[in-house]
Symmetry: C2
Subunit: 337 residues, 2 copies
């Protein structure tokens, strides 16, 4: 079949603050053999996402943590290279949560077949995959935007934020994004069509929000938390909706950050703040995927990928994402497919 070994990245130890190289270990292992009913997949693309920081932590969450010595969790797109199930043929492109490794064995029920004619296959873990579904349902179902609303989205050039903002424009909203560099701000405004962008690292966020949102903020789609969110909250309108998707500013703090309480504001503004996980909308993912593929074809929905070559560079890329070094959906090209 192949003379390659199964390169993989395992969790070496648990970080208490920001993850560093020492918390990961790159290993070579034997390529697993599929049993009856299983298939062997060679990974082409690995998605790196902020939620993975949560899996490096012990203790209760919505999903089990990665064990020490275990392969890091991650969504991938790959090709079936050996099959012992009639449901998968050699050559099929599939998407699934197969982890940070070059080869994995899986079963048809844990995989989704990817149609390579719908869009480039990398989108199956990007704009048409988990990040895209997160944006679609978290914005439309939790944020409940209406035509003419002012929408603010944080981490606006990221995998989720870029999609949220563009759906907001498709919906007829005024869309303002926050991001961590002038290049990212330029991208969301001039490439994606956001109405305004704010560099939260260099600008006075309160003043910039007030300038960009003269009619206040109706919907806030939050990927970051922290001081950006505190500033947004001060400018929400009556009946505002805060869709809480991520809190990346908090994931790497060894101690919880203290902040002013916001519940009084929620009363004053009769506002809703709601957290969600993409899985809760799973029965409708396929429907949304088709709709979003149509927007890609029509040119209404663009996406930017940040591709890093080679699985051995995944830890460094992931560490960089924790401080916003990526620019767009972060992908690892694991193999040529």
């Amino acid at each position: 079949m192949t003379s390659e070994s199964n390169l993989r990245v395992v969790l070496a130890s648990r970080p208490s603050g920001y993850p560093e190289a020492e918390h990961f270990r790159i290993e070579e292992a034997r390529i697993p053999q599929p049993r009856e009913g299983e298939a062997l997949i060679r990974v082409i693309w690995l998605s790196l996402d902020p939620y993975m920081r949560g899996r490096m932590r012990e203790g209760p969450s919505y999903a089990a943590p990665v064990e020490i010595g275990g392969v890091m969790t991650g969504g991938v797109v790959g090709r079936v290279v050996e099959s012992r199930t009639p449901e998968l043929a050699v050559g099929d492109i599939v998407e699934g949560s197969l982890g940070w490794q070059r080869y994995a064995v899986s079963r048809p029920g844990a995989l989704r077949k990817v149609d390579p004619d719908l869009a480039p296959i990398s989108t199956a873990i990007g704009v048409l995959g988990m990040p895209g579904m997160t944006a679609y349902f978290g914005f439309l179902e939790v944020g409940e935007p209406e035509v003419g609303d002012t929408v603010v989205v944080s981490a606006a050039s990221g995998a989720v934020g870029q999609v949220v903002g563009q759906i907001g424009k498709i919906m007829g909203c005024r869309v303002v994004g926050t991001a961590g560099s002038d290049a990212k701000v330029d991208f969301i405004v001039n490439e994606l069509g956001f109405d305004a962008g704010i560099n939260y690292k260099s600008e006075d966020v309160d003043a910039a929000l007030a300038a960009a949102c003269p009619d206040g903020i109706d919907v806030y789609f939050d990927n970051v938390g922290g001081f950006v969110t505190d500033a947004v909250m001060q400018q929400i309108n009556v009946h505002a909706r805060i869709s809480v998707c991520g809190q990346i500013s908090q994931y790497n703090l060894a101690q919880p950050e203290l902040a002013p309480r916001s519940m009084g504001l929620l009363i004053q503004k009769q506002a809703k703040m709601e957290g969600f996980l993409v899985f809760q909308f799973a029965t409708r993912h396929e429907w949304a995927r088709q709709r979003m593929a149509g927007w890609i074809r029509s040119g209404d929905l663009r996406y930017r990928e940040d591709v890093v070559e080679g699985l051995e560079n995944a830890p460094t890329a992931f560490i960089g994402m924790m401080t916003g070094e990526n620019f767009g959906k972060l992908l690892i090209r694991v193999s040529e497919g």
Copy 2:
């Protein structure tokens, strides 16, 4: 008509922390005369409620502040003693926001006629008035309880909390209340039928909640905020709903209190936190009032009033409410009616 003067309580100065006697001034004024289309009302009952602390504060909120020297805002029940409108007859019992004073002039459109046969007239500013409507809609519409849910309500013996808990029992929920004395806890459990009560001043709230809510918390109706709320948040279930009604623990702080951020928890639990004001449900208040009057008649809904005699005692009673000295719906008996 009467030889009385119009006793009234005005705002003397704005407190920065807890209100004290010096922030109020008791005045005698002339009884106002109704013009064409108006009526003169003699106040019988004045409602004291935590929201009034917000009106003593300058700056933007959902309602304008009381001016320095202005009569304190407040809902009252009174009797029409002189009428220059065909819509109101002398002797009619009415409810309206007429302030902390013995007499007020108003118009029919700003008043609601009270049916004295429905329930004692004091209930028009209590269980069948603003606090009751707050409980009804804030619990049912924002908290979205389902049969079998575990509901926690803070300030559980107060005007709103006691109603929330009893509606929870009517709904088929497990209901746990927090309150500030053993007598209050005894009352909500043994008089109102709550499943459990927690004295947040004397008990370990984390441990007491865990014991009282073995299946976690599905709905939290929050009147208080602060450390009680922080403890509740740690024990919410997936898809929990937090109905944010009041934050009395925060109203008298000169500086905002810092606390751990809770948005990460909202994500993990796919939970909703929503603030509301009773006015947003105004079109359905009358409908809810009739339903609640039925529950009072059937004995399913009880209420406890804490009656203080005499308008001149309103400031002291209000100050006491800020630290939980009242026990039940706080009412001032302004006149015999």
